[in-house]
């Protein structure tokens, strides 16, 4: 496995209006691995993801994707480099059907007939609800079904990096298990994933590497296995033990 990081943040500062949110974030996301970004509420996790996606721009520091410097790149350029983003609110287009949501995410397809059928069948197997409600308005789906659609949309075409913000938020345990299985399969296919998560059990089951944020900085990074085994470290960084 190529251990060169796919995504690197070096000393990233982000301001939102008058507020200084990120205070020098250093983060490396290894290629082909699933990196968990953990931290208490307000630690800066979502801001970090939005800064990577160019939705907010770093006021200082550098963001690199492979060989590309994307610090000042616009969001569509970053997406074109192969980054898929699932925001915390899922970003579902409620008035469009499930099919239309998927078609929109497939940049190379002009009609639903041009979607990659093999890939689509794979997604249907991972998330049967997407197939079941294919022609229904996405706004009518339940929270769990919307999350499945949001992740399906992110993988409708091959991507270099998936960035997902709190996929388990508000979901029933059975659906969380379904998500975990799906991410494990994606990971098995060599997709690089950066995942923000508050559900520590979710993180423990999936993560290869972990970065913990506090007050707009990464205060710990390393292997997930080592982090899971160190209850004192978890207690000090997150205020809980796995």
């Amino acid at each position: 496995m190529n251990q060169e990081p796919l995504l690197t943040l070096e000393g990233v500062h982000t301001h939102i209006g008058a507020y200084h949110i990120l205070h020098g974030v250093d983060l490396a996301v290894p290629r082909g691995q699933l990196t968990m970004l953990l931290g208490r509420n307000g630690a800066g996790k979502t801001t970090t993801l939005r800064t990577i996606m160019g939705l907010w721009h770093a006021s200082q520091g550098r963001v690199r994707l492979g060989t590309h410097d994307i610090t000042a790149a616009r969001t569509p350029q970053i997406a074109e480099l192969g980054v898929a983003y699932v925001p915390e609110n899922m970003g579902i287009f409620a008035d469009l059907t499930v099919k239309e949501n998927m078609l929109l995410a497939a940049r190379s397809a002009r009609t639903a007939d041009q979607l990659d059928d093999v890939r689509l069948q794979w997604i249907f197997r991972l998330f049967p609800a997407v197939q079941k409600f294919w022609n229904h308005p996405a706004g009518k789906l339940s929270g769990g079904q919307k999350q499945m659609l949001a992740v399906s949309r992110a993988i409708v075409e091959p991507r270099e990096l998936l960035i997902i913000d709190e996929p388990s938020k508000g979901l029933a345990p059975a659906i969380i298990n379904n998500m975990i299985d799906a991410f494990a399969e994606l990971k098995g296919q060599g997709v690089t994933i950066l995942l923000v998560e508050q559900n520590i059990h979710f993180a423990e089951r999936l993560g290869d590497t972990v970065a913990v944020m506090d007050n707009g900085r990464v205060v710990h990074s390393g292997s997930m296995a080592a982090f899971s085994a160190d209850a004192q470290l978890q207690q000090s960084l997150l205020g809980l033990a796995l």
Partner: protein, 329 residues
Amino acid sequence: MSLLKSDFDWKPLALVPVLALVALPLTGSLSTWLTLTVAGLAMGMIIFIIASGLTLIFGLMDVLNFGHGVFIALGAFVASSVLGLMGDWTGSGELWRNLLAVFPAMLVAMLVAGALGLAFERFIVRPVYGQHLKQILITMGGMIIGEELIKVIWGPAQIPLPLPEALRGSVFVADAAIGKYRLLAVAVGLVVFGLLAWTLGRTKIGLLIRAGVQDREMVESLGYRIGRLFVGVFVVGSALAGLGGVMWGLFQQNLVPQMGAQVNVLIFIVIIIGGLGSTGGALLGALLVGLMNNYVGFLVPTLTQFASIFLMVAVLLWRPQGVYPVANR
């Protein structure tokens, strides 16, 4: 839970027949009612043509374009010049010769209005994206400048825009006089609605516009440059306003440079009734406003100006976001 597409909200659609049926006993006779109804539908279709672009600009770009009226006026004045050059065709009693004059005039008006829209977006709107107060001020300023330029080119006085020969007068259906031009206006309105509905519902560009109205940031996150889409929608919206201006000018049969500002009020009422960003809602709102204006204009002429505002207030009390809101603002 039913997830069928038939969950479509049909209730607002009932407003048009309800309004027409309420007016039926008040107008006194079936023929008068039919005449007023067709006139109202024609007026509504023209307002829809103008408003359809603005509702997309409003919904997709979150831009309060109070300068939309300048494209209406420009379209009408450009058409008056084109039709003036085609006097032999407009003076003919043959319908096909009239249409061969009117359609090129519409096309030229749309091209000129669209080109002005391109410049308007680039130099007036783009610097104030996301700043509503500045948008109101600068787009109104842009409209005033546009009106003054129209005065420079065509003069400040009212100029006539007579209907081509074969489009004058009425056809009679069950003793009701149905204006020929009004039938043409309904037909053009239906064609525009059909094209918009096809583009928005059946093409990927339409899908992007509908998605952009709902969540611009997510569209960008999927890798689409929404800025280009903004410009395209603004140009198309301006061209449609130009087409609507031609239709409105022929409907009124005279033009003044301030005509855009006069129509602006009706258009904003229509898109507020319809719900921001919704072309279907704009069609429904326009038909309601057109019918209401004609019925009230016949029954209580002094209340005509108030009728549309009353309608808007009544709809907003029922549906505060308009009948089919798309954009969440």
